[in-house]
């Protein structure tokens, strides 16, 4: 059984504009999927439907056996099991780093404060930021903030992780430190769905690459096939553009 299963997912904004067109993706447990495609192709929308930050009008999404778009699904409970990392970090600015990592554990999972702090400290150590536990997000660099954001998702013990362009708001010298954390996570067997244009990351750890254009999944191929011989014209064009930079 797949960890994430999206079958014939369609979504419209208003009556006219179809942002997702009959999209189907299967992500097995432990698999790393990279989603890429031109700006406005619907990558963010697709990934946000997985934890129901965006609703869908057609199709079915099942995460770890739970149907996301069923009316009786307890969405907060489901979301707590799906980690999400955003382009602009979205740490909570008025909370210290340690508080950022404890909020969900205490309010959603009902963990005690000491247990939450211990878990938070362990994850901070893992992303190499133990020294910054008492600081506030505004006092950290972008790369550090994004590593905290990854830790904030991991403290919830997620069954899978979603990344929406996690490095595209970062200065070039900070991209590596974030990618390193993600590579390590992938190697440990985390199921990951990653929207990114970092093809180096895709080459290193992705199992499959999904290419989107205009709301459609144009290509869903093994990494080797995608980089070796992309079947569609659109994927070839896209690849030649981003690889030439």
């Amino acid at each position: 059984m797949s960890m994430i299963s999206m079958r014939n997912v369609s979504k419209w904004y208003g009556p006219q504009f179809q942002v997702l067109k009959d999209c189907s993706v299967e992500v097995e447990k432990g698999e790393v999927i990279v989603v890429c495609g031109p700006s406005g192709s619907g990558k963010s929308t697709l990934i946000k439907t997985v934890n129901a930050l965006e609703t869908i009008q057609n199709g079915e999404i099942v995460v770890d056996g739970v149907t996301v778009n069923a009316s009786k699904t307890n969405l907060p409970k489901l979301r707590a099991r799906v980690g999400m990392v955003f382009q602009h970090f979205e740490l909570f600015p008025h909370l210290s780093i340690i508080q950022n990592l404890c909020l969900g554990q205490e309010k959603v999972l009902g963990r005690g404060h000491d247990e939450a702090v211990a878990k938070a400290e362990a994850l901070l150590k893992r992303v190499g930021l133990s020294a910054h536990a008492q600081k506030f997000p505004g006092q950290l660099s972008g790369g550090q903030q994004q590593r905290v954001a990854i830790a904030r998702a991991l403290v919830m013990d997620p069954v899978c992780m979603l990344f929406d362009e996690p490095t595209s708001a970062l200065d070039p010298e900070m991209i590596t430190e974030v990618l390193d954390v993600m590579v390590e996570l992938a190697r440990e067997g985390m199921t990951m769905m990653v929207v990114t244009h970092e093809m180096g990351f895709a080459r290193k750890v992705a199992h499959r690459v999904v290419f989107m254009d205009q709301g459609e999944i144009v290509e869903d191929a093994l990494k080797e096939d995608f980089f070796g011989t992309p079947r569609s014209e659109r994927a070839r064009n896209f690849l030649s553009k981003i690889l030439s930079h």
Binding site: R79, M84, F86, E90, F92, L103, L109, K135, G138, M156
Partner: protein, 250 residues
């Protein structure tokens, strides 16, 4: 107060403040300080009403639901656009008549009826202004903040409680300070329904003693001091709540 003609011959007498007032409760100064006490209590209670209702309506304005937005919008327009004095009279003279007879009678016999009415009227009037500020504060936050809260599994109520409102209040603390000062100033309209707050006390001192300049100069100085204390306190609160490394003008 034709100060031009009378002012020349006006007999200043600051000693009047320490003379006994005809209400038998002490000096004229005591009378003014008694008024100050009513001003403070009324302003504080009205401010609590304004904060509670204003925050609730401000949150409603930022929900997805069209109905919620419409209800909140109508509330704000209603309470903001009717003059405060008219609202005060409506609550004091009209509302008791519209209620069932026994309730109306009960209300009219309340010992501190003018005070309660002033708290409700000024509190609700100010709540429309607080609501506008609170919803502006929430809207000023990056859209991803709500998403990040939702994504870790917080319910909408928890997202407001732990993420959106704490930042929104910080952002709008300076305008909320001036709304609090407005609340204090607005308590003076309550003299029209017989509340002996500071302005009311100054006027009755003037009526008994004929020392109009002393009465209103003293009241003015007390208002200025009160506002200075509030402003000072709110600045201290702003500093205390400042978020390290967070630039509000982001």
């Amino acid at each position: 107060m034709a100060a031009g003609s009378r002012g020349v011959n006006y007999h200043w007498n600051w000693g009047i403040l320490l003379e006994p007032s005809p209400d038998g409760q002490g000096t004229y100064l005591d009378m003014l300080l008694g008024g100050l006490r009513w001003t403070i209590v009324t302003a504080l209670c009205a401010w609590v009403v304004a904060l509670v209702f204003g925050s609730a309506i401000g949150v409603l304005r930022t929900l997805q639901s069209r109905t919620a937005q419409w209800v909140a919008g109508a509330y704000v327009e209603l309470f903001r656009n009717i003059p405060l004095l008219v609202q005060l009279f409506l609550w004091f003279f009209v509302v008791p008549e519209l209620l069932p007879r026994e309730w109306g009678i009960w209300i009219k016999q309340l010992r501190y009826g003018a005070f309660y009415t002033a708290v409700v009227a000024i509190g609700l009037y100010m709540s429309s202004r607080v609501a506008t500020q609170v919803s502006a504060g929430i809207s000023a936050l990056p859209k991803g903040q709500r998403m990040a809260g939702t994504a870790i599994g917080l319910t909408p109520a928890q997202t407001y409680r732990y993420i959106l409102l704490p930042m929104a209040y910080r952002i709008v603390l300076p305008p909320l300070t001036s709304e609090f000062l407005n609340t204090i100033k607005n308590t003076s309209v309550a003299l029209t329904i017989g509340l002996m707050e500071l302005t009311g006390a100054a006027r009755s001192m003037q009526e008994f003693s004929f020392q109009v300049f002393e009465a209103f100069t003293a009241a003015t100085v007390i208002y200025l001091l009160l506002n200075a204390i509030v402003t000072f306190g709110m600045r201290a609160l702003e500093r205390r709540l400042a978020v390290p490394g967070f630039n509000a003008a982001r």
